[in-house]
């Protein structure tokens, strides 16, 4: 997930340029000189400038100073470094949230949340002995809090809350 400054800076330039061009096409308010286009254009132009500077590595020096400072204060890592594929595990939580957004209406809150908890818990290295009871209890308790205490109905779906 660590990208070079050239790439992130380039993304910023592209984003800023898009905002500027798109902003310039917005219709003005009749009778006014400034309207909805002024702000996106100003922000877009500034973003293009920043992105260019980042891509050329300007300001990198400050980051190195901060990193060295943090490193000198944190505990030394006694273990061998983690394999690179571990970084991809980070994609799991947003993927599970996307699953929630897609499935919760049809499946209902309890089964959807249960599935999410099992998967996440196992990914964190839990044994099934912990993950399965957690997946049964935690969604139930959360549903109880939201339904009874906060009066937010969560999607019922296939398996609605029993009372």
């Amino acid at each position: 997930m660590l990208l070079s400054d050239k790439i992130t800076g380039g993304v910023m330039v592209a984003l800023g340029a898009t905002a500027f061009i798109y902003g310039s096409t917005l219709p003005p308010v009749p009778g006014q000189q400034v309207g909805p286009s002024a702000f996106p254009m100003a922000v877009g132009a500034a973003l293009v400038l920043c992105g260019t500077l980042i891509a050329f590595g300007i300001g990198r020096h400050f980051e190195e100073v901060a990193e060295a400072d943090v490193a000198s204060h944190s505990a030394p890592d006694l273990h061998e470094p983690l394999p690179a594929w571990w970084n991809w595990l980070a994609l799991l939580p947003p993927a599970l949230l996307a699953f929630y957004a897609l499935a919760s209406e049809a499946l209902g809150f309890l089964p959807t949340a249960g599935i999410m908890v099992v998967i996440a818990s196992l990914a964190f290295g839990a044994r099934p002995k912990l993950a399965v009871p957690l997946a049964l209890i935690a969604p139930f308790v959360i549903n109880l809090i939201f339904l009874k205490l906060l009066r937010v109905p969560l999607p019922g779906g296939l398996l609605p809350f029993p009372w």
Binding site: M12, L26, Q33, E63
Partner: protein
């Protein structure tokens, strides 16, 4: 006097009291868990505050954040793993004391000076805010624009990263607020034909994504912290009065630095702790003792980070400019509860303001007994398996955002996307706090910018010619140029050193 009595009436109600006690334990627990920050604790509370009375809602935020900042010190002291980033600056020092067999003293210092620091911060809030409010009543859109800009610039200055990346992150936040039809022309912008995007991106799902989901993601890529062994601790508060008497200067300096950093927009408790610890070392008579388990720096930094919490509310209440990421969340809650930030808050809703002060004082007083209980329970709480805590937090992210957005699943998508964005940004050195500030303040910046331009017929002259805006604009420009100045100074010094 009447308003003060009214304020006491507002605070001493059953629901507010329950909210304070419950959020105190919640804050202590979340803060003590390594990897869960005070900001995350606060962000996850927002959905709950939605359904509370205004005073109870603010009470939960104030209490939970203060407790979490303190209890972040507990795993720092005992495990050398800071519970919250605000404790990172002095974790080494506290752990060195524990290794010398002074765990009680180290924890006691953290607790005692946190509570005192919190109270000092509250006093500053009570003193500064009403004074500034009177002054701020005369501000027009030009001043508001510069004030917001100054706030945004400060947030980029204090970020512990490249200032240019911080500015880019902030601009990204501003760009995100352009989405939707809530703009001067009322035309849909950047909606790509989606009806969900017409209403714009709400700050709360974005905050939950950046501060809570991204933390879960990061935890997945890191090793589980080591288990805490059960240890018997002696009296926690023993010797604290002597230390208070021995190091009055350190404590006062910590409080003052914390207050100043808190008032600066965007700079919060973690920054206050770093600066205070460094300052303590520089001005100490025995700098060589730092890092070996010396209480001096611990006192100063512990006093500083909690003091910054209260003073962070000054710009938030007066101008709607967050003093730190926690008040960025609090501003959202204030709007939600009809307590719109602004100088009139102090004249028209004075009793609510007094209630807020009372809650702050109360929170810092109950911190001492509750904190002692937490320290005693620490081995159990810190030992809670990450594989059980993190999945539950993830579910809370989904459900919490869903319920604050009027039961709209679009909010869940927002959390997922912002979680991803926050994770990638953090990994690449883009400070997410600056982006969040941009998101919280974007609408206000645009409004004051466009209204000012319309008033002046498109001329930018009044932005600089009015007396107060002249001062504010030069401060903003100075903040923009400061990194350049620092960089050239360093270059010059290096060249001289080479020449010599």
């Amino acid at each position: 006097m009447n308003t003060v009595i009214q304020a006491f009436g507002l605070v001493f109600q059953t629901d507010v009291m329950i909210a304070i006690v419950a959020s105190a334990f919640y804050g202590l627990t979340v803060g003590a868990l390594p990897g869960l920050s005070a900001t995350m604790a606060t962000a996850l509370l927002v959905p709950i505050t939605f359904y509370l009375s205004p005073i109870a809602a603010i009470a939960t935020i104030i209490t939970a954040s203060a407790m979490a900042i303190f209890s972040g010190d507990i795993p720092g002291c005992l495990l050398r793993i800071p519970g919250t980033p605000a404790s990172a600056a002095y974790t080494d020092e506290a752990y060195a004391m524990t290794r010398k067999g002074q765990a009680e003293t180290a924890l006691g210092i953290c607790l005692w000076f946190s509570a005192l620091g919190g109270i000092a911060g509250t006093l500053s809030l009570m003193l500064i805010a009403p004074l500034l409010a009177e002054f701020a009543l005369s501000f027009s859109t030009y001043e508001n624009f510069w004030l917001a800009m100054l706030g945004l610039m400060c947030s980029t200055l204090v970020a512990r990263s490249s200032p240019i990346k911080a500015i880019a992150a902030m601009l990204l936040g501003l760009l995100i607020t352009c989405i939707g039809i809530d703009n001067p022309g009322g035309v849909p912008r950047f909606t790509f034909g989606s009806t969900d995007l017409l209403g714009g991106i709400e700050p709360i799902p974005a905050l939950v994504g950046v501060f809570a989901l991204a933390e879960v993601m990061r935890a997945l890529t890191e090793r589980e912290p080591p288990k805490l062994e059960h240890r018997r601790l002696g009296s926690i508060l023993k010797g604290q009065i002597e230390l208070t008497k021995k190091y009055p200067k350190q404590q006062t300096r910590g409080n003052i630095v914390g207050i100043i950093i808190g008032v600066l927009p965007g700079a919060g408790a973690d920054m206050a702790a770093w600066v205070s610890y460094a300052m303590s070392k520089r001005f100490s008579k025995t700098p060589e003792k730092f890092g070996t388990g010396h209480p001096e720096g611990l006192i100063e930094a512990g006093a500083s980070n909690n003091a910054s919490l209260a003073s962070g509310w000054v710009p938030a209440l007066l101008f709607g400019i967050p003093g730190d990421t926690i008040t960025a969340i609090a501003i959202g809650v204030l709007y939600m509860k009809g307590l719109n930030p602004g100088p009139t808050l102090f004249t028209e809703q004075a009793s609510s303001m007094y209630a807020l002060y009372i809650i702050f004082i109360l929170g810092n007083i109950i911190m001492i007994p509750f904190g002692i209980i937490m320290i005693r329970l620490a081995s159990r709480v810190v030992g809670a398996p990450r594989s059980a805590v993190m999945p539950v937090i993830m579910i809370f992210c989904a459900v919490g955002a869903f319920s604050t957005a009027g039961n709209n699943l679009f909010a869940v998508w927002c959390v997922a996307i912002f979680g991803l964005l926050g994770f990638v940004m953090e990994k690449n050195g883009y400070p997410v706090a600056a982006m969040v500030l941009g998101i919280v303040m974007g609408t206000m910046v645009e409004q004051s910018f466009v209204t000012s331009l319309i008033k002046s017929d498109g001329s930018i002259l009044p932005f600089f010619s009015r007396p107060v805006s002249m001062v504010l604009s030069s401060m903003t420009i100075a903040a923009l140029l400061w990194p350049v100045f620092m960089w050239s100074l360093e270059k010059l010094r290096a060249r001289r050193a080479v020449a010599a």
